[in-house]
């Protein structure tokens, strides 16, 4: 009897996995239903308003494939072929590279401020000044100082990412320093080992959250910077299509950007989930 009780019944390890998979599938199905409801609402509003001002989903999806290479309305204004694909690639590369650079700067800054009092006292005032100024006030200065150069357009994204990531890293490292780090020190870990093997890994979940927040806001900041002065990019297409009232093209451009943004966020969430799979 004892042996029978100790042996798990056949298939018991598979059932929880199946149940979990079923739950994920159901959640995914409900999510798709939610997206369908949003599109339904969009179609309803579009059918009740002027199609020139508020195009429906069908009209928007119809122009997307053609607009990838060339948007005729925009080409008519700029006298050169302008496609969503190139612009999307430009904006996406700018956003991803800048968020990565901002993270690489913000993470050590935050940990430095949490671990070294001198660094905190020296770095906090400039970061506080940057954090309190609305970013749109900084944009005209960046445009006046650096013109329409590619790196200048990413200035807002860079500042926002550095601020968000450094604050999250500082807060996480401070929390860890008082608890886990003491345990590590009791077990004989040196300061550098404590930082490398305890503080840094324990800060990662918070930093990943901050990266996702920065990434979500980055698309808007990048587009508005491009809208106010760039030679290419999604922001420029938004600016031109809104000026010539090409709302279908404008909707299609924004929809493409949102799809790419959602995919990038999902990839970061997946990679983050994998990196922090040890998390309780």
């Amino acid at each position: 009897m004892a042996a029978t009780a100790a042996t798990p019944p056949r298939g018991s390890a598979v059932r929880p996995r199946l149940r979990a998979a079923g739950r994920h599938l159901a959640a995914g199905g409900l999510g798709v239903l939610g997206i369908a409801m949003v599109f339904g609402f969009w179609w309803l509003v579009a059918s009740l308003t002027s199609s020139g001002k508020f195009p429906g989903p069908a009209a928007v999806f119809e122009v997307i494939p053609d607009n990838m290479e060339n948007i005729p309305a925009v080409t008519y204004v700029t006298f050169q072929p302008v496609g969503v694909a190139d612009a999307l690639q430009y904006t996406t590369v700018n956003v991803l590279v800048t968020v990565a650079i901002g993270t690489l700067i913000g993470l050590p800054l935050g940990i430095l401020m949490a671990r070294i009092r001198t660094a905190r006292q020296l770095l906090e005032p400039p970061l506080l000044v940057l954090g309190t100024v609305p970013l749109l006030i900084i944009l005209p200065f960046i445009t006046l100082w650096f013109g329409t150069a590619r790196f200048a357009q990413s200035g807002l994204v860079l500042i926002f990412t550095i601020l968000t990531v450094s604050m999250a890293a500082q807060s996480a490292a401070e929390t860890v320093s008082g608890h886990y780090a003491n345990f590590a020190a009791c077990l004989g870990a040196s300061k550098s080992r404590e930082l490398r093997t305890v503080v840094l890994p324990a800060s990662i979940p918070n930093v990943l959250g901050a990266i996702r927040v920065a990434l979500a806001a980055a698309w808007g900041w990048q587009c508005v910077a491009e809208l106010l002065g760039a030679e290419t990019g999604i922001g420029r297409i938004v600016g031109i299509t809104s000026t010539i009232l090409a709302t279908t093209d404008l909707f299609a451009t924004l929809l493409c950007l949102i799809i790419v943004a959602v995919i990038c966020d999902a990839v970061v969430a997946l990679v983050g989930g994998y990196i922090t799979r040890w998390k309780e």
């Binding site: 100024v133 609305p134 749109l136 999604i234 924004l254």
Partner: protein, 300 residues
């Protein structure tokens, strides 16, 4: 004093223990390095203003210094439309300090009014929508994915759309702010209500409350503290939204001043305006945080 009495000030001044209250931090103390950092920033800023040179458009410095910023306040007089005994500069009136004050106040009030109406509208609609959606567990799960996808909306880049729909009207600017607020608050409210432990409702139900009453009096209030971060985030973002809305299509408001100052290369006006916007944003942030903390003072 004729009657021989002394005032509190005289007593304090005569006391041998009296010391001036302003004390600079000593080297090695906690605040000394912070003070050094602030002083370094200030000096670096002044040096940069000399080194960076001047713009070709207006002849103003690329990096305005303290004197430029203080002197730029009068430029707000250009944004006063006339009245209260001060003639508008566009009608040939002189640039005066009082005119500048009126210009700043009128534009600030226009911006604040748009922000207040837009934020309130966005909060109310998002709150109501989240309350209705979260009533049903099924609907909550249905809307969680679209709500999370809405986080990725390039809200600032969508301002031209509102220009197309509503023109340069007040309605367009206000609805743009309300839309952005809705996109932020709806997700936060959905997550906050979803995060309320199920036993809160079960306790209320076991005490005899009907489902609707338990939802209104137990679940929704319990979700309120979870909204704090979202509300403050929406407020901070709202300032950028209102500036963006006015920047692109309004004739009155701080965003319009930013637009015109950039057009004419007036870096000094931009800097002094930035200081005022920071001040407004800080005050509104503190007031909202206090109000929210008061509303949720019962929270653990």
């Amino acid at each position: 004093m004729a009657d021989g009495t002394t005032t509190p000030d005289q007593v304090v001044a005569a006391s041998p223990r009296w010391r001036p209250r302003i004390r600079l931090p000593k080297p090695g103390s906690n605040g000394f390095l912070t003070l050094c950092s602030v002083v370094f920033l200030f000096v670096a800023w002044q040096v940069l203003s000399v080194v960076a040179g001047r713009t070709g458009v207006s002849g103003e410095r690329f990096v305005p210094n303290v004197v430029d910023i203080a002197g730029a306040f009068d430029t707000f007089a250009y944004y006063w439309r006339g009245g209260l005994g001060v003639e508008a500069t566009t009608d040939g009136g002189p640039v005066t300090f009082f005119g500048a004050v009126l210009g700043l106040v009128s534009n600030s009030l226009a911006t604040m009014a748009r922000l207040a109406v837009g934020l309130t509208l966005g909060f109310v609609v998002a709150g109501l929508a989240a309350t209705m959606v979260c009533w049903s567990r099924f609907l909550r799960r249905v809307f969680l994915l679209p709500a999370n996808a809405a986080r990725m909306l390039p809200l600032l880049a969508m301002s031209p759309l509102f220009g197309i729909w509503f023109g340069k009207s007040e309605v367009g600017a206000t609805l743009f702010i309300a839309f952005a607020t809705f996109a932020i608050i709806f997700v936060v409210a959905l997550t906050a209500i979803d995060g309320v432990p199920g036993y809160y409702e079960q306790y209320a139900r076991s005490l005899g409350a009907r489902r609707f009453r338990a939802y209104i009096t137990a679940v929704l209030p319990a979700a309120l503290p979870g909204l704090r971060g979202g509300v403050l985030l929406a407020l901070g973002f709202g300032w950028s939204m209102v500036i963006a809305a006015e920047f692109i299509g309004q004739d009155l408001g701080l965003g319009n001043i930013v637009n015109r100052a950039e057009e004419f290369g007036r870096t000094d006006t931009l800097a002094v305006l930035g200081l005022f916007i920071v001040l407004y944003a800080w005050v509104s942030y503190k007031l909202t945080a206090r109000a929210f903390d008061y509303l949720t003072r019962w929270a653990e």
